[in-house]
């Protein structure tokens, strides 16, 4: 599954796998540490027809950030960033809970809340693509305003609902696998197909490497940009619905709060550069899994809560150090392999070279 998603041309595949070693290594190390702290970490049993165990918790609780990371990867690959995803989660959750409470059926509720996410994404996309506002500022607007919008929808209350259908999206299961995990896997597969089976992925990377020259080369940059923000909004809305369904209520003051930062972190841990260009979808999801494995591990360990943030920061520092181009150059590298500093170089060299010829 790694190979088609990590996407470099065939000649580079071996290094592509090598490149993702730090991520898989870090995930394995965190899981191993969890197992040492808590020997039952890998034990899984069935509970009411649903897989039950700490490892399942990691996947299940990691699903919202993984979903955000999928959308965020696309945006970051275009050299953008989307700070509004947490607020979009709150909006989608507020819409879902309020409409369910008002008696709407599940299809209408889902259509409306996912629609809200698409609209938010469209708003961000238009600001970035057409008005050319810097992404960090453009999406900051919705980050601030979005939670207010969600509060307006719920009138500042925690809106609870009784709806077995909606609740199943958060805590139901499909073939014993928790629903959030199934949904995340499905969305990952669809996204991967969209960007890797078509030229879209290449265009996204091209825009990220150099917007002007990719426009010159015939890429419709505004459409690509709007598309990635819309997709990111959709992913955030799905995450918002899952979180709301899980607690059977929309807690807009807290839903998705600061999760935009976790999502960006997941993407960065996954090795996608904030400078745009080459991206790895699956690796971003692995990044989200690393973050959640760490969170779950801290909860299982019995450390005092005052240590949570420090432990988290220390582990993250270790993971990012593993990826540091300076430090990896110091390590002995396997024979025949290219230096692991490859991630720093944009994947699409040709696009960069073209920029010279396109300039008027």
């Amino acid at each position: 599954m790694t190979l088609p998603l990590s996407g470099p041309p065939p000649g580079l595949r071996r290094t592509g796998l090598l490149r993702s070693l730090p991520q898989y290594g870090a995930l394995a190390a965190v899981l191993l540490a969890n197992w040492l702290l808590f020997p039952d970490f890998f034990s899984i049993r069935l509970q009411d027809g649903r897989l039950f165990g700490s490892l399942i918790d990691v996947l299940n609780r990691g699903a919202p950030v993984a979903l955000l990371a999928i959308g965020m990867t696309m945006v970051i690959a275009t050299r953008g960033i989307d700070l509004s995803v947490g607020a979009v989660m709150a909006i989608a959750g507020a819409v879902a809970a309020t409409m369910t409470q008002a008696g709407w059926g599940l299809p209408a509720v889902l259509a409306a809340s996912l629609g809200a996410g698409l609209l938010c994404g469209l708003w961000n996309g238009l600001l970035v693509a057409l008005l050319r506002i810097q992404p960090i500022i453009a999406t900051l607007i919705l980050m601030v305003a979005g939670r207010g919008v969600a509060q307006l929808i719920t009138e500042g209350q925690i809106v609870t609902f009784v709806s077995p259908g909606l609740a199943a999206i958060g805590s139901g299961s499909f073939l014993t696998v928790p629903m959030p995990v199934v949904i995340t896997a499905a969305l990952l597969a669809v996204t991967a197909l969209l960007v890797r089976a078509t030229a879209l992925g290449l265009m996204i990377e091209a825009v990220g490497v150099n917007r002007l020259s990719s426009a010159g080369a015939g890429v419709n940059t505004p459409v690509v940009l709007v598309a990635v923000y819309v997709w990111c909004g959709l992913c955030a809305a799905v995450a918002g619905v899952i979180v709301t369904a899980d607690i059977r209520g929309a807690d807009v003051n807290n839903a998705g709060l600061w999760l935009e930062l976790d999502a960006i972190l997941a993407v960065v841990i996954g090795g996608t550069s904030l400078l745009g260009g080459r991206f790895g979808l699956l690796l971003s999801v692995v990044g989200a899994a690393i973050i959640q494995a760490m969170n779950t591990g801290i909860l299982l360990s019995g450390f005092k809560p005052e240590f949570n943030l420090i432990v988290k920061a220390a582990v993250l520092l270790a993971v990012l150090l593993l990826q540091s181009p300076v430090l990896t150059l110091l390590l002995p590298r396997p024979k025949g392999a290219r230096p692991v500093s490859a991630p720093l170089k944009p994947a699409i060299q040709p696009a960069k070279r073209e920029s010279g010829s396109v300039k008027p």
């Binding site: 899980d246 209520g249 807290n254 909860l299």
Partner: protein, 326 residues
């Protein structure tokens, strides 16, 4: 220099204008009614909205004219509101302070105008205790104690407790833990086997409880969960159910706040007790004020609201009574 002067002149003019406008707009105490200005923080939670609603209802009951100013979580708005209340010459000012510091200057203005100030729900840091007449707040340490004592009595003093703490470093989390710990310390059979922060939210409460259950042999070693607020308890109840256990029976659930949803859970037998943080902070404040105006007797500096414990027997009626206030 001149720029500063200009700014301050503008501000003064603006303040005066606001005061004038509000002053014109109010038929100030024409019928001998007490007029109270209330600077409320905003509406960040269901509890806060209930506090405002109750303040209005209690004022109406006593025939008091209540003017509410919503500060939208900003201290500067609260200071402005207090100044305009002073300019209007209200009979008393109630403040639910958004932060603890920075009140001395504006409270001095109120004191010079001889307007008594009552703090609601939160205390402030000040060296000069004479700046306010009294503070009406709950005793959060006592809340933890009440929850602990109920649990000790219920389980005959033998109970392995998991604790869901509030936001790390917040004063209700520190105090609610302290009060509960006091009871644990004097009850030999009672221990806290795990404690973690659930950030006062449902989602985190659920996630942390899930890991507690796994860490304690599928929840078999857990006798009760003590949550620093009801929302985390509601999340924990879901986690217990999803682990195939019965909340309220296999694992007892005790929490603090008394929001409607926990009464619903108690009515359904899924929670066992809650200690109420009453949203009626204004009621005792009005009573103190009326007594003060009548015979000039100053109330004590701290009026503690009652931390009443509620159990499932009354849950259904309490839920009906509360669901509209929140």
């Amino acid at each position: 220099m001149s720029r500063n002067w200009l700014t301050s002149a503008t501000t003064t003019a603006a303040t005066a204008m606001t005061a004038l406008l509000i002053g014109l707009g109010s038929a100030q105490a024409a019928d001998g009614k007490l007029v109270v200005g209330f600077s409320q923080i905003g509406s960040e939670s269901g509890w806060r909205a209930a506090e405002t609603k109750t303040a209005k209802a209690e004022a109406q009951k006593r025939g008091i004219d209540l003017k509410i100013s919503d500060a939208q979580q900003k201290q500067e708005n609260q200071i402005k509101a207090v100044r305009s209340f002073v300019a209007q010459g209200v009979d008393a000012i109630f403040i639910a302070p958004v932060v603890a510091t920075g009140w001395d200057a504006v409270l001095k203005e109120a004191k010079e105008a001889k307007i008594p100030v009552v703090l609601l729900d939160r205390q402030i840091d000040t060296k000069d205790q004479s700046l306010y007449m009294t503070a009406v707040t709950s005793d959060t340490v006592h809340e933890g104690r009440v929850a602990g004592e109920w649990l000790a009595k219920q389980t005959g003093g033998k109970c392995a407790v998991v604790e869901l703490q509030g936001t790390v470093g917040s004063s209700p989390a520190i105090n609610r833990k302290k009060g509960f710990d006091e009871v644990v310390a004097k009850t030999p059979g009672m221990t806290i086997i795990r404690t973690q922060s659930g950030d006062f939210t449902r989602a985190k409460g659920k996630e942390v409880m899930e890991s507690f259950i796994k860490a304690e042999d599928g929840g078999k070693r857990i006798c009760a969960v003590y949550a620093h607020n009801d929302d985390m308890a509601v999340g924990a109840i879901q986690a217990i159910k999803e682990a195939g256990l019965k909340p309220g029976k296999d694992i007892l659930v005790v929490s603090i706040d008394g929001v409607p949803d926990i009464f619903k859970a108690m009515a359904e037998g899924e929670a066992n007790a809650t200690v109420e943080l009453t949203p009626n902070m204004a009621g005792p404040a009005y009573d103190a004020l009326v007594a003060f105006k009548k015979d000039g007797k100053a109330p004590p500096k701290w009026i503690k609201t009652e931390s009443a414990l509620f159990t499932p027997d009354t849950a259904k009626a309490e839920y009906e009574r509360r669901k509209d206030a929140y």
